[in-house]
């Protein structure tokens, strides 16, 4: 079973999915709304009369796997559906309840969510959100940085950049890079002369150096082909900002010298894991390794799904995997800065819940 491709597993999951059968009509349901991409049915185990389930026709095991156009359709129509539900059931308000993960209450591997008509004193206090005195200032920076990056990327891709707040989001100074500060020779090579140039750059020089350290592809490009990088920068104003006032060629030379001295030439990371089957909708290309900490969770899952050996290790022998990481270039890139145990645990839970995978303890 572990050697099956993701596509086979998904097909198997779909074949056993009660909600896919409801979509196809094989299984009867109390349908209240349907269109080309979604349907709404009555929950047969309702919290209250009129409790509905909203589901996309297509089987998506988790919310982040829904393609953007379908996501927009689903949640665009949801607004109108909550209005219709309130009118129909003469309810004052409507609860939208989404559970991601078994612990949160997700019971089906076919993504769906709940609309529950509500009234004051309806006895459904279970949906009330408790208020506690918990300090969570420690996560503000992490959320700010990731939301800014993820939303900018989302809106540019969806051609909705006009929604972005007018002030330009720059890389926050708070993002203390974990990589060590690079040797002086690099920093001075960045820009020997002008302090003015440094001021124009939205980030400090040592931060830029840390960014380069963090991105093996970028580093390889800087060293092997600075001209090409300059070309890319000219086409991309946002990234060009990063390199404002920096002599890319000089920086590349400095990095190259440093590497020659260390007698380890930099090459683009090579393929270690065999790739089996291409996942529809995934844009992870063969040979690309992005550190897991830079990826949204669903992309980590998709990435692991595509690597049968890695997947098998995670499911069957995580200890051996952990032992392998320090000596394996691609593994160390992938797990750099991440909590390896957390990724292993999350993937095992995902494989167990969504692919019926049995995991060894």
């Amino acid at each position: 079973m572990a050697d099956q491709t993701q596509e086979q597993l998904l097909a198997e999951q779909k074949a056993n999915c009660i909600f896919c059968k409801i979509v196809s009509g094989e299984q009867p349901s109390k349908l209240v709304y349907e269109d080309e991409a979604m349907l709404a049915i009555l929950d047969i185990r309702p919290a209250v009369k009129g409790h509905c389930l909203i589901l996309p026709r297509e089987h998506y095991p988790i919310m982040p796997l829904i393609p953007p156009a379908e996501f927009d359709h689903l949640f665009g129509r949801t607004a109108a559906l909550t209005g219709a539900l309130r009118k129909a059931m003469l309810a004052k308000r409507c609860t939208v309840f989404i559970a991601n993960g078994a612990i949160a209450g997700q019971q089906s591997p076919h993504f769906l969510f709940h609309l529950i008509p509500r009234d004051d004193g309806d006895g459904l206090g279970n949906f009330d959100i408790p208020k506690k005195a918990v300090n969570q200032d420690d996560i503000a920076g992490m959320l700010q940085e990731n939301l800014a990056a993820v939303m900018r990327q989302h809106l540019v891709r969806a051609e909705k950049s006009q929604l972005l707040a007018p002030e330009k989001t720059t890389f926050s100074q708070a993002s203390a890079p974990q990589t060590q500060t690079p040797p002086v020779s690099e920093s001075t090579a960045l820009h020997p002369a002008s302090q003015q140039a440094q001021k124009q750059s939205p980030i400090a020089i040592d931060q830029l150096a840390a960014i380069i350290e963090d991105n093996p592809d970028l580093k390889a490009l800087l060293i092997n082909n600075p001209e090409k990088l300059e070309g890319i920068l000219q086409q991309n104003p946002q990234i060009q900002q990063l390199f404002d006032g920096v002599d890319v060629k000089k920086l590349g030379e400095a990095l190259r010298e440093k590497f020659i001295n260390r007698q380890s030439p930099v090459q683009p990371p090579e393929k270690v894991f065999a790739k089996e089957g291409d996942i529809k909708g995934s844009d992870t290309k063969e040979g690309d390794i992005i550190p897991a900490m830079r990826l949204p969770l669903q992309e980590i899952f998709v990435f692991i799904d595509q690597k049968p050996k890695l997947r098998k290790l995670i499911l069957k022998d995580p200890d051996q995997l952990k032992a392998m990481i320090p000596d394996n270039e691609r593994l160390s890139i992938f797990f750099a800065g991440s909590n390896v145990d957390a990724i292993i645990q999350a993937y095992r839970a995902y494989a167990k819940a969504n692919q019926g995978e049995e995991v060894a303890q």
Binding site: G50, G76, A88, N126, L147, A149, L163, L218, M293
Partner: protein
């Protein structure tokens, strides 16, 4: 504390959180109910909620997330809460067993209210911005043309060097 904002939503850290890892997304437009939002605004609200959930899940090594909107506040709020097995939270309900008659009655009532939704949405799409404020479906003429050209170039570059740029954009 504001974590993110754009033309449609504001994202804040919950001041009295249910758990460590509780974020609130609100629409910018004053609204008490989801139905007051356009399809585009609603879709964006939940898109941001979904990304927030993914970031909380990954950033806090949570075991799951809940996204809940109760329509019980003066300004509509979508709560995203990171979940762990030890957080002491539960949003589960006691399921009722309703007889077929009640189920069928509820189905008919909801159907009667919902059946026009697809038709309405289709006609809205055909003639956009007739009754919507729609900050995005109709762009003001002039400057934005230049901006969108710029974006097109950004996209083009993104396609050619997709991975590199993806990495750069992801840098926290």
């Amino acid at each position: 504390m504001t974590l993110y904002e754009d033309a449609f939503v504001v994202v804040e850290l919950a001041s009295e959180p249910a758990a460590h890892g509780h974020v609130i997304v609100r629409p910018v437009k004053p609204a008490k109910h989801l139905a007051e939002l356009s399809a585009e605004e609603s879709a964006h609200l939940f898109t941001v909620a979904s990304y927030t959930a993914a970031i909380l899940f990954q950033g806090l090594q949570a075991e799951g997330t809940n996204i809940i909107c109760n329509e019980d506040e003066e300004q509509l709020a979508v709560h995203i809460i990171a979940r762990t097995s030890t957080d002491g939270l539960s949003f589960q309900w006691e399921p009722l067993t309703l007889d077929q008659g009640m189920m069928t009655e509820a189905m008919e009532r909801i159907k009667n209210q919902a059946y026009t939704i697809a038709v309405k949405s289709a006609s809205e799409q055909q003639k956009p911005s007739s009754d919507k404020p729609a900050p995005s479906s109709e762009q003001p003429k002039g400057a934005p043309v230049h901006a969108s050209e710029k974006e097109a170039r950004v996209r083009k570059a993104e396609e050619s060097e997709n991975q590199l740029i993806k990495q750069l954009l992801r840098i926290p």
